[in-house]
């Protein structure tokens, strides 16, 4: 799975995610699909999220929308909201990660797997990480 979230100079947020799904998945199964609200979500003034991991757990938790709603309604930081949502995924037996950008441009990489290919770029430069 790959994904991106961004904030532009006007403060607009966007998110995108693409995946090939799980190896040897049954034909027609859409369990790994980055459904809007599960793995992809963006709302100006709140946050933008793209997720990767055990797709069906992310669908059951509604991870991306959960994160944005916790930021919007509970006033949590994007890190707090992401950790809570991924905690629910872990409780069900899944793992994975999210990338998030908040309305103020702050960002977070949150994952409960051993690693996540990830990177960030802004006018100050680009950084990447794997582990």
């Amino acid at each position: 799975t790959v994904g991106a979230v961004a904030i532009d100079k006007d403060g607009n947020l966007a998110a995108a995610t693409t995946t090939g799904g799980m190896t040897a998945k049954a034909a027609g199964r859409v369990g790994d699909s980055p459904l809007i609200g599960a793995a992809t979500y963006a709302e100006n003034g709140v946050c933008a999220v793209s997720a990767t991991g055990h797709g069906e757990y992310f669908i059951r938790v509604g991870v991306a929308k959960t994160i944005c709603d916790r930021v919007k309604l509970a006033g949590e930081t994007i890190e707090q909201a992401s950790e809570t949502a991924l905690g629910e995924v872990a409780e069900l037996g899944g793992d994975g990660g999210v990338i998030v950008i908040g309305a103020d441009g702050t960002f977070a990489f949150v994952f409960n797997s051993e690693g996540m290919y990830r990177g960030v770029v802004d006018p100050s430069g680009a950084r990447t990480a794997i582990y």
Partner: protein
């Protein structure tokens, strides 16, 4: 607050230093930097966040290192079925495709659904047909094939057991 910012991921899972050679790590780092630069180029020139996320995802779809587009994993029936979604925070407009087999860049199909249809999601043959009708680049399903993913499929089918990496979408 930064003037603009882009954040990307190329998947998560069991990624250990023991299991990755320096050459492989360098290849992944270079691929991530390519994707970052594609999106940054949009934002640096005043483009929209929506254009930036699409621009960043496309090179990862085209890179066999990642499980998206060229180099994606195989289904049990030895095909590739791809999924993508995109969302614009301005109006909470969204588009998605599931189970496409012929559109080269699924994120473009998702954006076409968002911007050129009245709907949010298309799946299967209908999604491919819609993408083709929108003039997107179409390929044979074999375009997505790589030996690495064929070997992974054969291992899973033989052992009847997936590793953590196999389970990740």
């Amino acid at each position: 607050m930064p003037e603009w910012r882009l954040v990307i991921h190329g998947g998560a899972g069991v990624i250990t230093r023991d299991g990755m050679s320096p050459e492989m790590e360098a290849a992944y780092t270079a691929a991530l930097e390519t994707a970052l630069e594609a999106g940054a180029d949009v934002l640096r020139s005043g483009g929209s966040a929506l254009d930036a996320v699409e621009a960043a995802v496309i090179p990862m779809e085209d890179d066999p290192l990642f499980n998206a587009g060229y180099g994606a994993v195989m289904t049990a029936s030895q095909e590739h079925e791809l999924d993508a979604s995109i969302m614009d925070g301005r109006e909470r407009n969204a588009g998605a495709v599931a189970g496409v087999k012929r559109v080269r860049n699924p994120v473009k199909a998702a954006r076409a659904v968002m911007e050129r249809s009245e709907h949010v999601m298309f799946s299967g043959d209908g999604a491919d047909t819609f993408a083709e009708g929108q003039g997107l680049d179409m390929v044979d399903n074999s375009y997505f094939y790589t030996e690495r993913r064929q070997n992974a499929l054969e291992r899973v089918l033989k052992n009847r057991q997936r590793t953590a990496e196999d389970r990740h979408g």
